[in-house]
Symmetry: C2
Subunit: 146 residues, 2 copies
DNA sequence: TATTGTTATACTCTATAACTATA
DNA sequence: TATAGTTATAGAGTATAACAATA
């Protein structure tokens, strides 16, 4: 099966990158970018986190996350508070506006993709849902090793 | 089914972007980036193309493709030749080295992903393969409209 | 005038290296 | 000395606007 794996690996990589490019392009006029939305999403799922934890969750380096957090703070979507006992650390949490973005606006704004998904057959949607789980699993498995 | 679609759209978008980030990171020490590989791939599949055609295939704006082509030409992976009848146009084609990248090196280099796919159940690989087709279909459908 | 491609410029996302403050 | 976070800097990838050459 190695030959098929080779082909699947290549096709999956190219399709993913092409699709991600498309999605980013579609959000140009959106309030938050996908990178920002992804960080907000982590805070919504896991509650307040330190920048270091956020960077680990999102699998970026700490300086990259510092920038994302700064941009979100500028937009008023997250707050930074000092850690109660460790003066080095910072607690990042969603603001009310940030929560609104997560709960309401974000989903509604993915309009293009939603429309496309609507046109698919139910089995195709199910396939994509499974694929999402598999992809997330591949990345999660990575975490354990590293 | 709209509620599920909302959720699927969001999750698919985040998973795609996260996975693409991961893939790009993995190729840091590679000869060509995924963006470059994607363009090489288009030339391998479709034969020589003009920059405009390549930009359309890859769904980027012409100036973006100009840069990609320039970087590939610097690496000696593509050649630029004048169009035989239209002096405005340029024909971009794979060099021998470019073909080697496509046929051999590229697939072998996706080692991380290949290993991961190898660990999956056959049904999961099949799911991913279907998902690739669906995603490419979504983008292709876009083309007809635009 | 319209089209093709490029140049100029800028913004986002990401990284590594160096620094600051705290433990 | 080690850790958490930030700042400084750089590079890739994308875009829009303006330009040149050709049709």
């Amino acid at each position: 099966m190695t030959e098929n794996d080779d082909r699947l690996a290549g096709e999956l990589a190219l399709a993913t990158v092409r699709f991600a490019r498309h999605l980013r392009g579609r959000r140009r006029d959106s309030l938050v970018s996908l990178t920002q939305l992804s960080a907000l999403n982590a805070l919504a799922n896991d509650g307040p986190l330190t920048p270091g934890q956020l960077a680990a969750r999102e699998r970026v380096q700490p300086p990259s996350m510092t920038r994302v957090i700064a941009s979100l703070a500028d937009l008023g979507l997250v707050r930074r508070a000092p850690h109660p006992t460790d003066g080095r650390q910072v607690i990042v949490s969603l603001s009310e506006q940030g929560e609104q973005v997560i709960t309401g606006e974000a989903a509604a704004r993915e309009a293009w993709l939603r429309g496309k998904l609507d046109d698919l057959a139910p089995e195709q949607r199910a396939t994509l849902a499974e694929a999402v789980d598999i992809l997330n699993g591949l990345i999660a498995a990575e975490e354990k090793q590293a």
